[in-house]
């Protein structure tokens, strides 16, 4: 892909939410649609047109990879959400795509064949997937950061094995989306943040972050490069500057960050060939007390103004997937509409 495409989008003044969830939940049968690729593609297209966005942004469902990995291991579907490994799984096993993953690929095919929109795929990052596979991922990460190895601590051995399995699952799924026609992939690492990695420990060394987050994400970046597919990297968690710098070294086409970051300051950490995206506090849009419409306008104006001052390519948007919250749909939509009007 041509990186200039994303820079041109930023220069055009594009504003866009990650808003497919909002549009999906306008449909009465929203629970069925993610299993039907053609209809899912239709919703993705509907969202792109509603928000006047040339990118066909997928539905952010970061549970698919865990489901695929565990179903392939023989775990019952009803147990998947709450299942955690307690022993290091040995051996290897095939990981077929699930019905929902097939639907995602069918949706991408629909977008690629039937529309002029850019087909975009999505996957959870290996570290974030690993955190869904064990009860307490934080302790072994901390122990490893203190120097413990897989030989020293069973928890560290378990974590490292699960990172391998996570990476395998994710790369299979991303490959399927690329084969279906995805031209960009949004790679989401929401768990690679200050909750799981102590900033105190990182002040001493980023070794554990590099081993557990960056090494595997670099492999995925190479996978995408080999397929001429662009990387859009997303992490909405609370981050250190060191984490942001490392994400920038992946050389993604776009970086999407959460509202705890000041994007005009992060611009100094990121090459101008990478577009910055975000980062309105959309997780709080349900609450007029926390974020009024006037506040949305103020924050939007501030972001646009400050990013122009620093001269970094920027697309105004949401800090994450804008979720439709029952009872607050109109409140949230009004605020999305408000930031889309910002100049």
């Amino acid at each position: 892909m041509n990186r200039q495409y994303y820079l041109d989008l930023a220069a055009s003044g594009l504003k866009m939410p990650i808003g497919t969830h909002l549009v999906l939940h306008e449909h009465a049968d929203h629970e069925i649609i993610p299993n039907d690729g053609r209809r899912l593609g239709g919703v993705i297209e509907e969202a792109a047109r509603r928000f006047r966005c040339p990118l066909a942004l997928p539905l952010m469902d970061l549970k698919l990879e865990k489901e695929a990995l565990l179903l392939a291991r023989g775990i019952a579907a009803a147990e998947i959400d709450t299942f955690h490994f307690t022993e290091t799984p040995g051996g290897d096993w095939d990981i077929p795509l699930t019905r929902k993953m097939d639907a995602v690929c069918e949706a991408i095919q629909y977008i690629a064949r039937e529309t002029e929109l850019l087909p975009v795929g999505m996957g959870i990052g290996p570290f974030s997937l690993m955190t869904k596979l064990i009860t307490d991922p934080i302790t072994p990460v901390f122990l490893a950061g203190d120097g413990a190895t897989a030989d020293d601590e069973e928890e560290v051995a378990l974590l490292e094995r699960l990172l391998q399995l996570a990476s395998k699952t994710i790369r299979l799924y991303l490959n399927a989306q690329i084969q279906a026609g995805a031209k960009a992939i949004i790679l989401c690492e929401p768990a690679a943040n200050n909750v799981y990695f102590s900033p105190n420990q990182l002040d001493e060394s980023y070794d554990v972050f590099d081993r557990y987050v960056m090494d595997l994400n670099r492999q995925i970046r190479e996978q995408l490069r080999a397929a001429d597919v662009d990387l859009i990297f997303h992490d909405c968690g609370e981050l250190t500057d060191g984490m942001v710098s490392r994400y920038a070294e992946l050389d993604p086409a776009m970086i999407s960050l959460g509202c705890s970051r000041l994007l005009w300051e992060d611009a100094a950490l990121i090459s101008k060939s990478t577009v910055l995206y975000g980062n309105l506090p959309t997780k709080q849009f349900y609450s007029d007390e926390l974020v009024s419409i006037a506040k949305v306008r103020e924050l939007s104006d501030q972001l646009l103004s400050r990013m122009r001052e620093v001269g970094h390519p920027f697309i105004l948007g949401s800090e994450c997937d804008v979720l439709s919250v029952p009872g607050y749909e109109q409140t949230i939509k009004a605020k999305v509409d408000e930031f889309l009007k910002a100049e």
Binding site: I138, T139, F197, S198, K283, Q284, E289, V325, P326
Partner: protein, 209 residues
């Protein structure tokens, strides 16, 4: 400020493997299990909570401190049971229906235990009826509801409603990334904690009111 007791220091530093020997040393010195909990464990976790609130430490450090505390409780809890010593307060905690996130909930549970509150942890994706049952069965004085997603916040409202409609009157505290004081008031909860570090103070304020 005096240096903390060696057992407290080990808990604060998360030195789990040192804890059993230090607990045994306290017991050998004639300290009762209750004394050890109230004078070494509770103050240690209070320091941990304070340091977290002051951004001196973060979630990982809190977690390994709590793990070290649990190591002490493994030895002390049977002794407390045998002596008929019960915590003054008890609490039920869980992540509401539809939400699978548990880190925050687990941290709050650990901090409450560290404050000598007896905690019944219902886990994640807990339907309102299960909260009601646990409150009733345990005569719980305090309930903690956790949600990380805006989409599962309505389940908090339903849970509060179910508890009140069942005629139960524990203090209800809510928390989680999207949660606010205003939302707590809106749904009829009694209180709110911004994070695990402030969860003990918030709980005690409700329980002792």
């Amino acid at each position: 400020m005096n240096d903390p007791h060696p057992l407290s220091a080990a808990i604060i530093a998360g030195k789990r493997k040192d804890v059993p020997e230090l607990v045994q040393a306290c017991i050998a010195a004639g300290e009762s299990a209750q004394f050890i909990v109230e004078n070494h464990l509770v103050p240690a976790m209070a320091i941990v909570g304070e340091r977290f609130k002051n951004n001196e430490i973060f979630v990982p450090e809190m977690l390994i401190a709590a793990r070290a505390m649990k190591e002490a409780l493994k030895i002390l809890e049977p002794m407390l049971v045998e002596a008929g010593v019960k915590p003054e307060f008890n609490a039920v905690i869980g992540t509401v229906e539809g939400d699978l996130h548990d880190i925050g909930k687990n941290l709050v549970a650990m901090m409450w235990k560290g404050a000598n509150i007896d905690v019944i942890d219902l886990g994640v994706n807990v339907p309102p009826a299960k909260f009601v049952e646990a409150i009733r069965d345990n005569n719980a004085r305090l309930v903690g509801l956790s949600a990380l997603l805006t989409t599962t916040m309505p389940a908090m409202r339903e849970t509060v409603k179910a508890i009140r409609e069942a005629g139960l009157t524990p203090k209800i505290m809510i928390g989680g990334a999207p949660i606010t004081h205003e939302y707590a008031a809106e749904i009829g909860a009694d209180g709110y904690a911004a994070d695990a570090g402030s969860a003990v103070d918030a709980a005690m304020a409700l329980l002792k009111a």
